[in-house]
């Protein structure tokens, strides 16, 4: 199925550019071979946007994020954070980052962990202590602040990770596999936390395999495969594009070239349309042919189908 073209970054709010990736290439070199994880990737994220970074395993999401933080140097192209070169101390000072795998010092407590990271951000004294406790409480770890990290479950460690990424109220949150290890309650809490941060003006850029989360939180998605951007969508537009309409009617109305498919059931016809315009035309044809419209149903499309089909087409 072809999805109609939708608005892309032109629809983004006109804030400052929070992330600018320009013809980025990332290569991993070993003595034996060189692997190109990201190739000629370009995109922008505006301040205040919530952007999901999607792609199958090995698509280059984490490599792109690592280049944004400065963990690796691009083989070509540039990355900028609020106009600053990615990886510089000034750029890093604006970022809150959640790594893909949540591993924290096993013999420190969540409170000590947050205080350590806070000190590296120049946060000090009682205000740091208060903020660390507030964040741990926000992510639901108030009972575990004095347990050592090694005694925490994977989901709890992910919460520690989320709390540390929020330290210092960063302008930009870069979250790699943000829902990893979280139970449904945790996911709901996280969604609320991220929405609150967005309301406060933060920009969110995150990768996730949980398409329902992406759908619920994001303004826009970037779809990447084999290191290249293959699609860029505003989520509302995509939802519109994915929506299907079915029309139940009586009579012999011609639906050739209009409905995606039609079938007969109990003497009534059911026709499916990809968009509203075609549905309206279908209704016209039914009424013109002397038929009667019995029912119109709008069905939400599946983001998963879009994901699988788009990746499949690009392969």
């Amino acid at each position: 199925m072809e999805y109609p073209e939708s608005r892309t970054s032109k629809a983004a709010p006109l804030g400052e550019v929070a992330i600018r990736v320009d013809h980025l290439a990332v290569q991993y070199r070993s003595k034996v071979r060189s692997v190109e994880a990201v190739r000629d990737l370009s995109f922008e994220v505006r301040e205040g946007e919530v952007v999901g970074f999607l792609g199958p395993n090995g698509a280059g999401k984490s490599s792109t994020i690592k280049a944004l933080i400065g963990f690796l140097s691009p083989a070509a192209g540039t990355c900028q954070i609020f106009g600053l070169k990615a990886g510089t101390l000034e750029a890093k000072a604006t970022i809150g980052y959640l790594p893909e795998v949540a591993t924290y010092y096993p013999f420190l407590t969540p409170l000590e962990t947050l205080k350590l990271y806070g000190k590296l951000q120049c946060l000090k004294g009682p205000s740091l202590d208060r903020e660390a406790k507030e964040l741990l409480s926000l992510v639901g770890l108030e009972q575990a602040i004095r347990k050592q990290n090694r005694a925490l479950s994977k989901g709890m460690l992910q919460r520690v990770g989320i709390a540390q990424s929020l330290l210092g109220n960063p302008r930009l949150l870069i979250l790699d596999e943000v829902t990893s290890g979280l139970d449904p309650v945790g996911r709901r809490q996280l969604r609320q936390i991220l929405k609150d941060r967005q309301k406060k003006g933060a920009t969110l850029f995150f990768s996730s395999h949980e398409l329902s989360e992406v759908e619920g939180i994001c303004d826009r998605i970037l779809l990447i495969d084999k290191g290249s951007l293959i699609d860029e969508r505003v989520v509302l537009d995509l939802k519109d594009a994915l929506r299907k309409y079915s029309l139940r009617f009586t009579g012999d109305a011609p639906m050739f070239g209009l409905a995606q498919q039609w079938s007969e059931s109990d003497g009534n016809w059911i026709a499916e349309f990809a968009d509203k315009e075609r549905l309206l035309e279908g209704i016209d044809r039914v009424t013109s042919a002397g038929g009667k419209v019995l029912d119109v149903v709008s069905q939400e499309g599946s983001l998963e189908d879009y994901f699988v089909e788009t990746i499949g087409r690009a392969a």
Binding site: F71, T103, Y105, F107, K119, L120
Partner: protein
């Protein structure tokens, strides 16, 4: 700001080490030294003061060096392997800050181990009615400088090698320091004239870890303290070589993809 970040990183290292019970090994060793000394005392061998002091400072030097190397050699590789590096480096600190902070942490751990052992050894030596002399303080000070240099070496080697290889190489270079110097001298005597400048340069560059060990002076009775300028020279020597080692570690680590 940098000092604050270094302090925070070092504090994390010490806290982890203490809770991981790494230093328990030191306490057990100290206890064994005390027991051994106590046993000798029980059998009335008070005349063996020099022997016991020599044995004690050797054991003290050896075990504190082992703790220093094993702690420092795993600092950077463990951060990368366990992926604890990511949230650290995402903060507004440089990779140089990370190396310095982690090295300071490992130096502090080795100093704690050394001082705990030294205190226990001191208590053990009291059973021999050993008189404490100023040179013993100089011994402690110089050994602590030596441990700082050892940690810097282990951190540098671990940036280029696996942790096990880095630790092994550090053991060879630190414990074999005097032997390597002697072997170099022997090689110099028998070397062809064109090779002699190379050996001279190697001798000049190779750090002499035994310079920081005043154990021999402490063990033997009636040795005067070394002049202050010697201690200051050792500090400069330690600072120069530690900076060089950490600079080498940074050269490797600064652009390393993590």
């Amino acid at each position: 700001m940098k000092l604050y970040a270094w302090g925070a990183l070092a504090q994390g290292v010490v806290l982890e080490s203490v809770r991981r019970k790494d230093l328990w090994v030191v306490a057990i060793l100290g206890f064994l030294i005390m027991m051994a000394a106590g046993t000798l005392g029980f059998f009335g061998m008070q005349g063996l003061q020099i022997f016991v002091k020599d044995l004690s400072v050797s054991v003290l030097g050896m075990f504190s060096t082992i703790v220093a190397i094993l702690t420092a050699a795993r600092m950077l590789p463990d951060e990368i392997k366990q992926r604890t590096l990511y949230p650290l480096l995402a903060r507004p600190i440089s990779r140089f800050d990370l190396i310095i902070g982690k090295t300071i942490g490992s130096v502090l751990v080795s100093w704690i181990a050394f001082l705990v052992l030294a205190a226990l050894t001191g208590i053990a030596l009291l059973t021999f009615h050993v008189k404490f002399e100023p040179i013993m303080l100089q011994y402690l000070l110089c050994k602590m400088m030596g441990l700082a240099l050892t940690c810097s070496l282990a951190v540098a080697l671990s940036a280029y090698m696996t942790p096990a290889a880095g630790a092994t190489m550090s053991f060879i270079l630190v414990f074999g320091s005097s032997m390597i110097t002697r072997a170099t001298m022997m090689a110099y005597i028998g070397a062809a004239p064109e090779l002699k400048p190379v050996i001279r340069i190697f001798t000049a560059i190779f750090p002499e870890f035994t310079l920081f060990d005043l154990g021999g002076r402490v063990a033997n009775l009636n040795w005067a303290p070394v002049p202050v300028w010697v201690v200051l020279f050792l500090f400069g020597y330690m600072f120069f070589y530690s900076s060089s080692f950490l600079g080498l570690a940074w050269l490797k680590f600064r652009r390393q993809a993590v």
